[in-house]
């Protein structure tokens, strides 16, 4: 248990100088940032070094920060030294326009699917990955759904097609007609409404007419 966050930090500083930056320790877990070209070199160093021995890749995932121009995507690695039982986390940032990051599959076999998952959801292109294709989503998907530009549906939205929920003009009329089916969604909205509106008014007229008689 001789290895401490301080030692790791010093070793990294000595090896990579100012390239590794933003050292933090949120909740005791050493976290730092590195340029994306160096991710593999840093992992190789952490893996091979006789003192550091970060030979277990716990987790790999991405985070999308749409507000940070030029560094929108972060790839986050959680490494674990099982001998000294110490963890660290490091991040590389990449532009979303060209999200190329070197693959870690040569070092860790476990990175294979984790990188595929990250590619699947964030579109990070892991250069050198043996089989970079979608894993959880369907192959035909053309976008990367975990990116922030795909928000989940707002629970309070009001622009829903009320006719589909038995509310509003279309739905009510369908009920009044008694024809047993809702409005045909394939048709253009105004035409649909006009059509049914016509039918209802005819019925109403017919009813009124009988009253008058």
């Amino acid at each position: 248990m001789s290895l401490t966050n301080e030692t790791i930090k010093e070793r990294l500083k000595a090896k990579f100088g100012d390239e590794v930056s933003n050292f933090e320790e949120p909740y005791g877990l050493l976290t730092f940032e590195a340029p994306k070209d160096l991710n593999l070199k840093i992992m190789q160093f952490l893996f091979d070094d006789e003192e550091l021995r970060f030979q277990f890749l716990t987790d790999l995932c991405a985070v999308h920060y749409p507000g940070q121009a030029g560094r929108e995507l972060a790839v986050v690695y959680h490494l674990h030294n099982l001998t000294d039982n110490i963890r660290l986390r490091f991040k590389v940032f990449t532009a979303i326009a060209q999200p190329d990051v070197f693959t870690a599959t040569q070092l860790y076999s476990s990175a294979n699917w984790m990188e595929r998952e990250t590619f699947d959801f964030y579109g990070v292109n892991f250069v050198g990955h043996p089989n970079l294709k979608r894993i959880l989503n369907v192959d035909e998907m053309t976008y990367f759904p975990m990116r922030k530009e795909f928000p989940l549906e707002d629970q309070t939205r009001i622009d829903k097609d009320d006719a589909m929920f038995g509310r509003g003009p279309g739905g009510v009329k369908a009920g009044v007609d008694g024809q047993g089916h809702g409005p045909v969604t394939g048709q253009a909205g105004p035409l649909n409404t006009a059509d049914q509106g016509g039918a209802t008014s005819q019925e109403m007229r017919a009813g009124k007419g009988s009253d008058e008689l």
Partner: protein, 408 residues
């Protein structure tokens, strides 16, 4: 959608010397919805390709607009054989971010529930290994005791499979006497059952022939593949989150970590059995510790965290402040402090990790689940290469692959 992507017909089938077999996604032997495309030379496996994602439910995306409590229900559905471990792992993650300190009694109660879940998880896995090697009896026999565990869950939280158990800071209510009575019944009866179960398999000639040497992996490869939990320990690495990064006061308990050596199905079976004995011991210790609390200490079942712990109903009806907290918690209107936290717990299959980033809003900015199943399933083609088809089936069940955990 192109025609050729789901079932790949072998090119020039007549000249081809190998057979393609689609095992899954709904094959009875996969025990879950995932697919293996096996290339067979006779009965030998030349290569295996896994397809996952059939029950992908976008939990990580959903979590980005859900308040903390609504995410608990998502964690249920990861490894549904031991959902209380996932629930509590999630609550422990939240507590770490929010800085909530749980009382010892809560920790011990959590330990009891988590170890019960571990037993139910391992019990199903091991008995299913039995089923896949032709011994159905064990599976039916131990089901009674999984049922008893589920009854204990029911006493504690009201539900059985997808438990949604506990709250941030503790439990929704104190354990009832009925829960403790059932726990005592379990502690009294289960050792005998487990012993009988072991007698049935451990030195059973047929079972040994079927499992020894099936789907082996070396410690080095297992680590490289990111194995954790019983599957890693069967390969001889004594890594256990409960010991290495204790949570929920696991440091107060003495227990052994059973390890194997060859990482084959037989070792995985033995390690899981060994862990069930250890879990029993932990539960007994924890129960003894729980009984040591007297007076008002014996009524403690949650931490004092008014902003995150639902107030009692009678207070909600009579006190203004409680009503406000109740409203804010139920409507998810409590802001989460900004921060970045990784917390892991020892789940039924290994290290279940929660990587939570909060930007100060009401929902997580990003939540990533480390799902042990997903990570170690990729080793399957290496584990089964060159083995018989029947070994591939038994390897699949002894890895304890849970589709819910794989696909998130």
């Amino acid at each position: 959608m192109s025609v050729d992507q789901h079932i790949k017909l072998p090119e020039g089938s007549i000249e081809k010397t190998t057979t393609t077999l689609n095992l899954g996604p709904t094959h009875p032997a996969t025990h879950g919805v995932f697919q293996n495309i096996l290339e067979l030379d006779g009965e030998r496996i030349v290569s295996a390709e896994q397809t996952v994602g059939y029950i992908h439910r976008a939990f990580e995306k959903l979590a980005e607009r859900r308040p903390l409590y609504q995410i608990t229900t998502l964690t249920d559905r990861l490894n549904y054989c031991s959902s209380p471990i996932n629930n509590m792992g999630w609550h422990i993650t939240c507590e770490k971010l929010l800085g909530v300190k749980t009382p010892k009694r809560v920790d011990y109660l959590r330990v009891i529930i988590m170890e019960l879940s571990r037993i139910s998880d391992h019990l199903i896995c091991n008995s299913v290994v039995g089923v896949d090697s032709g011994a159905f009896t064990g599976f039916l026999y131990v089901m009674q005791y999984r049922e008893l565990i589920y009854e204990i869950y029911e006493e504690v939280c009201g539900s059985r499979l997808t438990t949604n158990m506990g709250r941030i800071g503790g439990f929704e209510r104190n354990f009832t006497n009925a829960a403790f009575e059932k726990l005592e019944k379990f502690l009294a009866e289960y050792p005998g059952v487990l012993r009988e179960f072991e007698n049935m398999f451990t030195r059973n000639r047929i079972f040994m022939e079927r499992t020894i040497g099936a789907g082996p992996i070396s410690a080095e490869r297992a680590l490289n593949y990111g194995f954790t939990g019983p599957n890693l320990r069967a390969a001889g690495v004594d890594y256990d989150v409960r010991v290495h990064t204790p949570y929920s006061s696991y440091e107060d308990f003495q227990f052994e970590i059973p390890v194997g050596s060859t990482g084959d199905c037989y070792d995985r079976f033995l390690v899981r059995n060994g862990e069930m004995w250890q879990s029993l011991k932990i539960i007994e210790d924890a129960y003894r510790k729980v009984k040591e609390f007297k007076g008002t200490d014996a009524d403690v079942f949650h931490a004092d965290a008014p902003a995150y712990y639902l107030p009692e109903k009678k207070d909600v009806y009579t006190k203004m402040e409680a009503l406000i907290w109740h409203f804010k918690i139920v409507m998810g209107e409590t802001e989460i402090p900004p921060g970045e936290v990784y917390q892991s717990v020892e789940g039924g299959n290994g290290e279940v990790g929660y990587y939570l980033i909060s930007d100060g809003g009401r929902t997580p900015y990003r939540l990533h689940f480390r799902r042990p199943c997903f990570i170690y399933y990729q080793a399957y083609s290496e584990l089964t290469k060159g083995s018989m088809l029947s070994d591939a089936i038994i390897t699949m069940s002894s890895l304890n692959l849970i589709a819910g955990e794989m696909d998130a």
